[in-house]
């Protein structure tokens, strides 16, 4: 018995969870959990402040990692084999269909959640000081997510994959000077073929996931250092003055010294001159905090399980599409890019330069620059009416274009409402 206890204690090395010390040690003695603070503000945990969209996105990424690694076991990135492997997953591999479905729906879900998360951050003004650069990292994460989805789109090597990537990379090739070369570098040739498949595969399973993980670590670290999850600070009555974010020159209020509590211990890493850059907490605020264990963890766990069960339910009833074997000689009409690029394709159909170059470049640059262009220090929605309207119009315009591209475009990119059935041309 003693030996078992000794082994257990050598693993956990913390006090029992019934004590406050044990609760904090659970967090900061554990390398995986210590991205959390030992105590969190109650306000930060409210579902309606963030809808947990960041968490959900991260959980979808975890689902994608695990199902993706399982799928790699069955997948060979060569044209004929790749398609046969899809068929094997469907017909011969135990739970292969379920596995592929989970990966597919989690991937689409992640694109949606990243976009929703970005909207939430914008509407709450959470990209403002001191979080400007974390917004930039968020935009990069959005681009990595889209690239992951786009590269994964080709891998089944069916007609859907082949032509979506052909159209998608064509949009990119409209960029002046370098567009054509960029496309060739990405495809390993002039058109989508064997070379493109292996390049997309390497990007999809190695390069982009690595970029995603590295950027995610920075993203989380900064959220933690900037005071945790976002909350509507403008609603906190009379407490704003007490909130001091050191390192933000405009709010250079003096550090409030509080008497050391006898119940607390402080770890002092190093004595340095200068001010800490992270947020400090006033005594009143201290009263509004609770231990991460169990309050934050149970919420995260519920969000995780809700995400997992949603994806599983979808995967049980909805099958991921798989069309005919890719056939470069047979262009489907219309050939469409993945849905999140259909807004751009819609613009391209009017003007290649506008949709292929101006719009995407402007969108990315604008998103990256938002925290530096928006000089309004207030996060209160009432003070930001103009910019909120502009952003809403931007989002709505994108949405309308995507809906038109997805549902209202028929053969020859002609405007056809979804309720009108157009027979595929027999001749």
């Amino acid at each position: 018995m003693n030996l078992i206890r000794e082994i257990w204690q050598s693993i956990v090395r913390r006090d029992p969870l019934s004590t406050d010390k044990g609760k904090s040690e659970l967090v900061f003695l554990n390398v995986w959990l210590h991205i959390h603070p030992a105590k969190v503000k109650k306000e930060n945990m409210k579902f309606r402040h963030t809808f947990y969209l960041g968490f959900i996105t991260f959980f979808l990424f975890l689902i994608l990692l695990t199902t993706g690694i399982a799928l790699m076991v069955y997948y060979r990135p060569y044209p004929a084999q790749a398609y046969q492997d899809m068929k094997d997953l469907q017909f011969a591999v135990f739970m292969g269909t379920f596995l592929r479905n989970m990966h597919r729906w989690a991937a689409h879900g992640m694109v949606v959640c990243v976009l929703l998360h970005m909207c939430r951050v914008f509407y709450t003004g959470s990209y403002k000081k001191p979080r400007q650069f974390n917004w930039v990292i968020g935009v990069l994460l959005l681009l990595v997510t889209l690239s992951l989805s786009f590269t994964g789109y080709l891998l089944p090597w069916d007609q859907l994959a082949y032509w979506a990537i052909t159209v998608g990379t064509n949009i990119g090739s409209y960029a002046p000077l370098i567009g054509g070369q960029l496309r060739e570098l990405l495809l390993g040739g002039h058109s989508v073929g064997e070379g493109a498949l292996i390049r997309f595969y390497v990007l999809h399973v190695a390069v982009l996931p690595a970029a995603m993980i590295l950027l995610t670590i920075v993203h989380f670290w900064r959220v933690r250092k900037d005071g945790g999850l976002s909350r509507p600070v403008w609603k906190l009555k009379g407490k704003q003055e007490g909130l001091v974010t050191i390192g933000a020159p405009t709010q250079a209020a003096a550090l409030q010294a509080t008497a050391a509590s006898k119940d607390k211990t402080y770890g002092l890493m190093e004595v340095v001159t200068g001010k800490p850059i992270f947020e400090t907490v006033t005594l009143e605020e201290e009263e509004d905090t609770v231990f991460s264990y169990p309050y934050a963890f149970v919420r995260e766990a519920v969000a995780l399980m809700a995400t997992v069960t949603t994806i599983m339910t979808m995967s049980l009833f909805l099958n991921a599409p798989l069309e005919e074997l890719a056939n470069p000689a047979k262009t489907p009409n219309p050939a469409k890019a993945p849905w999140y690029f259909l807004g751009l394709q819609e613009l391209v159909s009017h003007s290649a330069f506008l949709g292929g170059v101006v719009a995407p470049a402007l969108m990315v640059l604008m998103l990256l620059a938002i925290p530096y262009l928006d000089r309004n220090p207030s996060r209160r929605p009432g003070d930001r009416k103009l910019i909120l309207w502009l952003f809403t119009i931007f989002v709505a315009a994108n949405l309308v274009l995507i809906v038109i591209g997805t549902f209202f475009r028929g053969p020859g990119w002609a405007l056809v409402p979804p309720w009108v059935h157009v027979a595929a041309g027999a001749e």
């Binding site: 068929k87 094997d88 135990f94 269909t97 379920f98 149970v298 766990a301 049980l316 027999a426 001749e427």
Partner: protein, 463 residues
């Protein structure tokens, strides 16, 4: 609140577990397992003693598959069609029935889908029979299944499938190549037919199309050739066989079946009778071939056909560039050749042709082979409808020498021509003269012109 959340977490975890179990259950109960159980019961019925009966029933379920790299496919059909190779299952219910009359085409070597169509990789009935979205090759009905013979046997006669030979003959003589490309040769007015058999067209559609092109594809430029029902079926068979698949060396070596009939055809074509005799009938410059297969081994004869000098130094026999199966066919014919047959061959031999005749004949061959006859007619009569072209139809070429010089005609064949319009404001006529300079050599074109001019002579004689 906190208690609620913990309960929610617990409930969601249970739900996740249930979902995984449901997915596992779904994956573990595929329909093919039911078929295998039924088959085992069928087999067990025959077993006399209880121990073997139990042993049969205890056979674990598994997917059966035939890997066919040479045909680029994997066929799992035998996962359910378990009695295909078991003669005791002659009267078993489907899907367990024995497949009679397979001949050399055993499923272990050829699989099933190369003949039957369908989706070999699939393991449920709907998908396997290919009657699902996004599978271009559904199961062929028994009416058309013999068309599949032509997927491997692309040349010569296929025993039991005269439709294929007839369809191919029609295609080459009715001028289809004038508008349609096949294996890179032909016009571009109609669609390329190189992979037509892989195009997910219902055989019934093709047949109706040949009977009345406009009835199934409105506005089609294809003229109505007034084929008979049999001819439409022959052409449908031929179209279905054009799948343009890559095949391994064994399967492509079978493009030609080495039948004695084909051997005889070669014997006539290569004019063997002008040196050899059979049973004393024929020439006597070379050995008599009666009973030659008894005097020499098959291998010796094969070598003789490949390289006569090697077997008989100083042999006068030319080296004929025959492929393996053509040589096999010749040898097969020689095994059964008789003097009476040689007599028959001699009697049908055409008179000697002058070089001029040969050039005109070559022109006629070109005129037919490259599809000119499709629009201008096998007798140069023209008359295929071409709305809004001058005269409303493709012109007859019988009197072409009255209206044009030979050079002008050669230029028209070389460069193509859009027909002059009846009504300048009307629509463009669907048919036009394609440019042939990339397909035909100048010599070929000159010969076609010679052929046209030779017809003038005859037409004038008739006056």
């Amino acid at each position: 609140m906190e208690r609620r959340l913990q309960q929610l977490f617990f409930a969601l975890s249970l739900l996740a577990l249930a979902l995984i179990l449901a997915a596992g259950w779904q994956a573990n109960t595929p329909s093919w397992k039911n078929y295998q159980r039924s088959f085992l019961q069928l087999e067990a019925q025959e077993e006399p003693n209880a121990i073997t009966k139990a042993a049969v029933l205890a056979t674990p379920p598994e997917i059966h598959q035939v890997l066919l790299p040479g045909l680029q496919r994997v066929d799992r059909c035998t996962t359910c069609h378990l009695g295909v190779e078991d003669p005791t299952m002659k009267s078993a219910p489907e899907p367990f029935r024995y497949h009679a009359n397979l001949g050399p085409h055993v499923s272990a070597k050829f699989g099933c889908t190369i003949c039957h169509g369908g989706q070999g990789l699939a393991t449920d009935k709907e998908s396997a029979h290919g009657k699902v979205a996004f599978w271009p090759n559904p199961l062929l009905s028994t009416d058309y299944i013999r068309a599949s013979c032509g997927r491997c046997h692309k040349e010569g006669e296929v025993p039991g499938v005269p439709e294929l030979t007839e369809g191919r003959h029609l295609f080459e003589t009715q001028g289809c190549r004038g508008c349609h490309k096949l294996n890179g040769v032909g016009g571009s007015i109609g669609p390329d037919l190189t992979g037509e058999g892989a195009n997910r067209r219902a055989p019934e559609w093709l047949e109706r199309h040949f009977l009345a092109p406009n009835a199934v594809s409105a506005g089609s430029a294809m003229p109505n050739f007034h084929f008979t029902k049999e001819q439409a079926r022959d052409l449908t068979y031929y179209m279905l066989s054009l799948t343009n698949e890559e095949m391994g060396s064994y399967f492509s070596s079978l493009r030609l079946i080495p039948s004695p009939e084909y051997g005889r055809q070669l014997f006539v074509e290569k004019n063997c009778i002008s040196c050899h005799a059979i049973g004393g009938v024929g020439a006597n410059t070379a050995p008599d071939l009666l009973g030659v297969t008894k005097r020499h081994s098959i291998e010796w004869l094969d070598e003789q056909l490949v390289n006569p000098e090697l077997v008989y130094p100083g042999s006068a026999m030319p080296e004929y560039d025959l492929e393996t199966n053509a040589r096999k066919a010749l040898v097969a014919y020689l095994a059964s050749a008789t003097a009476e047959d040689a007599q028959l061959i001699l009697s049908k031999k055409a008179r000697a042709m002058t070089p001029e005749d040969i050039a005109i004949e070559a022109g006629k061959q070109n005129f037919s082979r490259f599809g000119c006859v499709g629009c201008h007619g096998t007798e140069l009569q023209g008359g295929v409808a071409n709305p809004n072209a001058q005269g409303g139809e493709v012109p007859s070429l019988l009197h072409v020498s009255d209206d044009y010089t030979k050079d002008e005609v050669i230029a028209i064949i070389r460069n193509g021509r859009v027909p002059p319009l009846d009504n300048a404001a009307g629509p463009t006529p669907p048919l036009y003269m394609p440019s042939w300079k990339k397909v035909l050599s100048d010599e070929d074109i000159n010969r076609i012109a010679d052929y046209l001019w030779s017809k003038r002579q005859k037409a004038k004689d008739a006056w």
